[in-house]
């Protein structure tokens, strides 16, 4: 596009991370236009290093005011385009002002760059990391951004109590459910039990849904979005009083992220939603927040 408008006569930048083939990658999520290709994963504490190659078309000479590489972590709120909140930015000068002829390679290494948050791509907000290489010229600057994914292995949350709750509608339905923990890592298994203490409605089935609630923005610009990640049928048919139905859900197959609470720009919370459906398709449900955390990179 730049070439079409003739701003940049023949300068191209290629950015490549080191050891890209040995890195875990996060597969592109189909349907997410912003993550259309597999991206390398870095842990928060890892150094991000690589090579920026500047390609100048043969026979051309490009004058520039300097070349720099930046590692940027920013939160983008979709309602507020162009106004990105950068929470992390590290700049490295790659070259001082001069002229470029032919191809030239520069190494960059952000060994101390701060990457406190995990990458996230939601409905109204995304948190992204990228390396940007900029060639400053008198005219339009030439830039190249290269995204990468950050995943932070977290400490296991302390005090992992089981979640236990008694809910019901008087003289109609009374259940007690129990999840073994209040926090699960992303490869974890949710194990639970549902006790039916009183059943006066004709239950057709029961399912457990995992819901992600994303809250972005503040004040009048706050956007809440809930998204059902998965519905998992737990019980078929109507139980008798006193029955106890087990629950076991493996989280691994689903696209989950850790819970986000760290920034003031957005939060992502997860809920386990237990739903009973009766024969008239009325739904009785109870949501319960659980914390998701990352134990392994991948």
């Amino acid at each position: 596009m730049q070439a079409l408008f003739g701003f940049n006569p023949g300068v191209t930048i290629l950015v490549e991370f080191d050891h890209i083939d040995k890195r875990p990658t996060k597969p592109s999520t189909p349907g997410d236009r912003r993550a259309s290709e597999a991206l390398p994963i870095f842990e928060g504490s890892e150094a991000v290093s690589g090579t920026a190659t500047v390609l100048v078309a043969p026979g051309k000479k490009v004058d520039h005011l300097g070349i720099k590489a930046e590692l940027i972590g920013q939160i983008e709120l979709y309602y507020d385009r162009g106004n990105h909140y950068e929470f992390s930015s590290v700049v490295r000068e790659l070259d001082t002002a001069g002229a470029l002829v032919g191809n030239r390679q520069y190494r960059f290494d952000f060994n101390l760059a701060e990457k406190p948050y995990e990458s996230y791509s939601g409905l109204n907000v995304r948190l992204r990391y990228f390396v940007r290489v900029t060639i400053s010229t008198r005219g339009k600057n030439v830039t190249k951004e290269m995204d990468f994914v950050v995943q932070n292995i977290q400490q296991e949350p302390e005090a992992l109590d089981s979640l236990k709750m008694e809910v019901g509608i008087e003289d109609c339905l009374h259940i007690e459910f129990e999840y073994d923990k209040s926090a699960y890592h992303l490869q974890d298994v949710v194990i639970g039990k549902i006790y039916f203490l009183l059943v006066r409605i004709k239950i057709k089935h029961m399912e457990m849904a995992i819901i992600r609630r994303e809250t972005a923005g503040t004040g009048s610009n706050q956007y809440n979005e809930s998204e059902t990640i998965i519905k998992y049928e737990v019980m078929d048919g109507a139980p008798a009083k006193g029955e106890c139905v087990p629950l076991r859900v493996f989280l691994k197959p689903y696209a989950l992220t850790p819970t986000y609470r760290g920034t003031n720009k957005f939060t992502v919370k997860y809920f386990l939603n237990l739903v009973l459906v009766d024969e008239e398709d009325r739904r009785y449900f109870k949501q319960q927040e659980v914390t998701l955390w990352r134990k392994y990179v991948a």
Binding site: M235, D236, G237, E243, F250
Partner: protein, 923 residues
């Protein structure tokens, strides 16, 4: 849901989709694409979520899916073995399926492979599968899923000797798992009962439930197949939880089915070991549950088992008491229990007792007593004293009672008479049923073939069979149709045979038995006594001989003490012989009397082979007893061979005796009674004279009602008295017979028969004084001459000629050649008058035979020329007849007779005098 067409459509669609997905699944497995295989298998299993199908159709669909899952199983196993895919991964993958029913089928499928791989302890996997399976709470779908669990794990349970034992768990774990599956399955099954729907669907729901019962029962089968389970484990670990579930589920259908299932599935020794607990369970079943069939099949099984293995009954368990307590408790706790059910439970109990505790009479008495009290408590009364029932006993109760009463009969026979409650209970039954039991008792007594020698026993036995002897208290004992008559015939025969079983070495006691029997039999209906008293008469006759023989022996002993030993021996031999003879005679005559024509009397006088008479004899022989047939056989033989010579008129008693003796020997039923010499030790209370008095009284009593039978019996008594040397008594009997003849017999056929008997009897009596004999013989001849029909007159007069020519030459006053000739000539004259249909020619030939007989018997008055003349006369008559069957027959008869005469003429070794006589005869 009810519409069968819609059902079929739904089933067909389901099947189609299953096939489609199964196809895709198999393509995925061929490509070793685990993920895709799971997906398509899941889609296939989704079809089982249907709510459209009835249990039967759902079952069909289930079976189809089951077939396909087998492929999947093989695939997982080969993935694990060949592609080294760890089972735990597959197990996790299976759980990714978001729908619970398909997921659990997949999980069970993988789980089974997991156990097979032994990558984890079988126990843990089974436990997890069972736990997860709770996710399906829909009754029918859950039942099928649990059945699938049971199906895929059936050969993978840790058990004694199985590869999964040890680290994989023990048989106790398996028991626990199968029990859990059972309990859960049963809960689901029971829950179907309370499902929604209008009450008019209740029937259909119950039917559908019953269709599914196998899914529950399979678990019990699985338990019984565990090798590591023994009686003790069954008692402590298996039965209690099962009973707890069965009792606790409070469901009628489930309780009935599962209790029966328990009985059928587990081995008998287990039941024996845990009887108490089981019975306690039975008592706690719902009131609507029919406990009787349950107990019945339990007792039947244990009973048969103990019957085959008598040592199997544990010493420390009183099975009868336990069962009885249970039954008692049930009866007392369930006031609504049907009376027939109560009785049937006692039937089962009694059957059980007789199999497991043979000979414990108190048990039998107890069962019978319980029934009696139950009857009373339900307001039924015994039918004593001929009162009609206030309330009819329901049919099923009658049948139950009949079964109850017949059990001790089979095992105990006469022993039932010592059961105090037995007869009491019998009286609750309607008349016809009482009769049925009585008959069965008789058959049982007869089948044992043991003698009746106890007075009391005879008394009770005959008292019990009153329904056979007497007419029903209300309504008539109609003669009814042929079948009924045959039945009555059978009844009489049974009674007669039982009477013949009475025997006792002690003549006094024997006599008392007869008196008792006479009392009972005499109380019978008038129509019956003619059949029932006859055998009694013959028994008494036999007894009279025995006593007489002993008396003679005693007298001899007293006369010569030094020869006592020899005398006793002789007496004993005589007794034995007399006894056997008497017995045989009795048998034959009994049949004869019943059949209507004295078999013995028939073939002595009528030796001419009278076709009509012979035919009659044969025909009636068929209707009569076997003995009659045996006696009739010689008569028929005579006729067939065409042997025309009149045989020597054998003594009436002896001829049938020899015939029937053979039959008696064949039966082998009567060993000779030991000599009566033993009785010497005690003074004899009843003399033989007393017995004859008794006989006289019996026969006289029935005479007015049954003249013909009584007449025959008087004659039999006469023979008996004559043989034992009481000629005066014999004369008395004869005169009674004659009086009967005069007063009561008006039918000419009966008169002829009576005359034949009288003549035969008279001839065989040897003890009469000449005067007495003459009086009787003359009287008989007079009767003969006064018969109404000429041919009868003719034949009887001919017959009477024999009275004047005793076969014993030395007999005083028994041979009067002149009177013989007179008789014959008189009969010729009578024959000459009978001209209708050539009957005179027939009579002439008969008379000719008698002439030839007397001629051979050396009667001086019978001259050869009479014979020649008679032959010529006969020829003349026969020739004048038109050709017909009758003529052909007559000619053959004549020719046979003539052949005989010719042979005699040619016979070289004839006595000289006779030879000379025959030379005079020309034919």
């Amino acid at each position: 849901m009810e519409d069968p067409a819609a059902q079929q459509r739904a089933l067909a669609e389901g099947n189609k989709r299953v096939m489609q997905e199964a196809f895709l699944m198999k393509r995925a497995t061929d490509a070793s694409d685990t993920k895709s295989a799971f997906t398509h298998a899941g889609n296939m299993l989704k079809e089982l979520k249907t709510t459209q199908l009835s249990p039967r159709n759902y079952y069909e669909l289930y079976m189809k899916v089951l077939d396909e899952l087998r492929h999947l199983e093989d695939f997982f196993t080969s993935q694990n073995r060949q592609a080294r895919q760890p089972m735990v991964g597959l197990y996790e993958q299976a759980q990714a399926c978001t729908m619970v029913l398909p997921r659990l089928y997949l999980l069970n499928t993988v789980g089974a492979c997991y156990i097979l791989s032994q990558e984890a302890p079988a126990r843990d996997i089974l436990k997890d599968l069972l736990e997860m399976t709770k996710g399906v709470q829909h009754p029918m779908r859950g039942l099928f899923l649990r059945n699938y669990f049971s199906h895929v794990t059936r050969d993978k349970l840790p058990d004694a000797g199985s590869p999964y034992e040890g680290d994989g768990g023990s048989v106790d774990d398996s028991v626990e798992f199968v029990l859990e599956n059972f309990v859960e399955a049963n809960k689901l099954w029971v829950r179907m009962h309370g499902q929604k729907g209008p009450s008019k669907d209740k029937k259909r729901r119950e039917r559908e439930r019953k269709d599914l019962r196998l899914l529950v029962g399979t678990n019990l089968v699985r338990l019984s197949q565990l090798e590591g389970v023994d009686g003790a484990k069954y008692k402590t670990d298996i039965l209690p939880p099962i009973l707890e579930q069965v009792v606790g589920c409070k469901d009628t259908i489930a309780q009935s089915y599962l209790m029966d299932c328990l009985i059928q599935v587990f081995p008998d020794e287990f039941h024996l070991a845990s009887l108490e607990a089981f019975l306690d369970g039975v008592c706690r079943l719902k009131e609507k549950v029919r406990v009787r069939p349950v107990l019945e099949s339990l007792m039947e099984r244990i009973g048969n088992y103990v019957g085959e293995h008598p040592d199997a009954l544990p010493k420390d368990v009183d099975a009868f008491r336990l069962l009885n307590d249970c039954v008692t408790r049930l009866v007392s706790e369930r006031p609504k229990l049907e009376l027939s059910e109560i009785i049937l439970m006692q039937v089962a109990l009694l059957q059980f007792a007789s199999q497991c505790y043979p000979g414990r009479l108190e048990y039998i008495n107890h069962c019978i007593g319980v029934c009696g009290r139950a009857m009373v408590s339900r307001g039924f009364e015994p039918l004593t004293g001929g009162r009609p029932a206030r309330r009819d006993l329901p049919l099923e109760c009658i049948e139950a009672l009949l079964r109850l009463l017949s059990i001790p009969l089979k095992s105990l026979g006469l022993g039932v008479l010592s059961l105090a409650e037995y007869i009491d209970l019998l009286h609750f039954l309607p008349w016809e049923s009482q009769k049925q039991v009585s008959l069965e008792l008789l058959r049982s007594v007869l089948s044992k073939e043991s003698a009746l020698s106890d007075l009391d026993c005879v008394d009770r036995l005959l008292g019990m069979i009153a329904p056979i002897l007497k007419d029903p208290p209300n309504g008539e004992r109609g003669d009814g149709d042929a079948a009924m008559q045959a039945a009555q015939e059978e009844e009489r025969r049974l009674v007669a045979r039982v009477v013949h079983l009475m025997r006792n070495e002690d003549t006094d006691c024997y006599f008392r038995m007869l008196v008792v029997a006479r009392r009972h039999l005499g109380q019978g209906s008038p129509s019956q006594v003619q059949y029932t008293l006859v055998p009694l008469v013959f028994r008494a006759l036999g007894l009279a001989r025995t006593i007489r023989a002993a008396e003679v022996a005693d007298e001899e002993q007293a006369a010569a003490a030094e020869t006592a030993a020899a005398a006793a021996a002789a007496a004993s031999a005589a007794t034995a012989k007399a006894e056997a003879e008497a017995r045989a005679t009795a048998d034959a005559a009994e049949g004869g009397v019943n059949g209507g024509s004295g078999g013995g009397a028939d073939d002595d006088g009528d030796a001419d082979g009278d076709a009509t008479n012979g035919g009659e004899n044969g025909k009636e022989g068929e209707g009569g007893s076997d003995e009659t047939e045996a006696a009739a056989a010689p008569a028929e033989g005579d006729e067939d061979s065409g042997e025309t010579v009149a045989p020597a008129p054998a003594p009436a008693g002896e001829s049938p005796a020899t015939g029937a003796e053979g039959a008696g020997d064949d039966e082998g039923a009567f060993p000779p009674v030991p000599p009566a010499a033993a009785a010497v030790a005690r003074p004899r209370q009843f003399s033989s004279r007393k017995v004859y008095q008794f006989l006289h009284e019996i026969v006289t009593a029935m005479a007015p009602l049954h003249p013909w039978v009584s007449l025959s019996l008087f004659l039999q008594c006469a023979i008996g008295a004559d043989r034992t040397g009481f000629k005066a008594i014999a004369y008395e009997f004869f005169s009674q017979a004659f009086i009967l003849y005069e007063d009561e017999l008006s039918d000419s056929k009966a008169q002829v028969r009576a005359l034949v008997s009288m003549a035969g009897t008279l001839l065989s009596c040897e003890g009469f004084d000449p005067v007495d004999y003459d009086a009787l013989a003359t009287k008989t001849a007079q009767y003969a001459a006064k018969l109404l029909k000429k041919p009868d007159q003719c034949r009887m007069v001919t017959l009477c000629s024999h009275l004047f020519w005793s076969p014993d030459e030395a007999a005083p006053g028994r041979r009067d050649a002149r009177r013989v000739l007179e008789c014959l000539q008189r009969s010729l004259k009578i024959a000459d008058v009978c001209i209708a249909g050539g009957v005179n020619a027939q009579l002439f030939i008969e008379i000719l035979n008698h002439y030839v007989f007397f001629f051979e018997a050396d009667n001086p008055e019978i001259a050869g020329r009479y014979i020649s003349g008679l032959v010529a006369l006969i020829h003349e008559h026969v020739d004048s007849l038109d050709p017909s069957d009758a003529r052909t027959e007559m000619e053959r008869y004549l020719n046979n007779t003539l052949d005989h005469i010719r042979r005699k003429k040619e016979q070289a070794d004839l006595p000289e005098s006779l030879g000379k006589n025959f030379a005079w005869v020309t034919i």
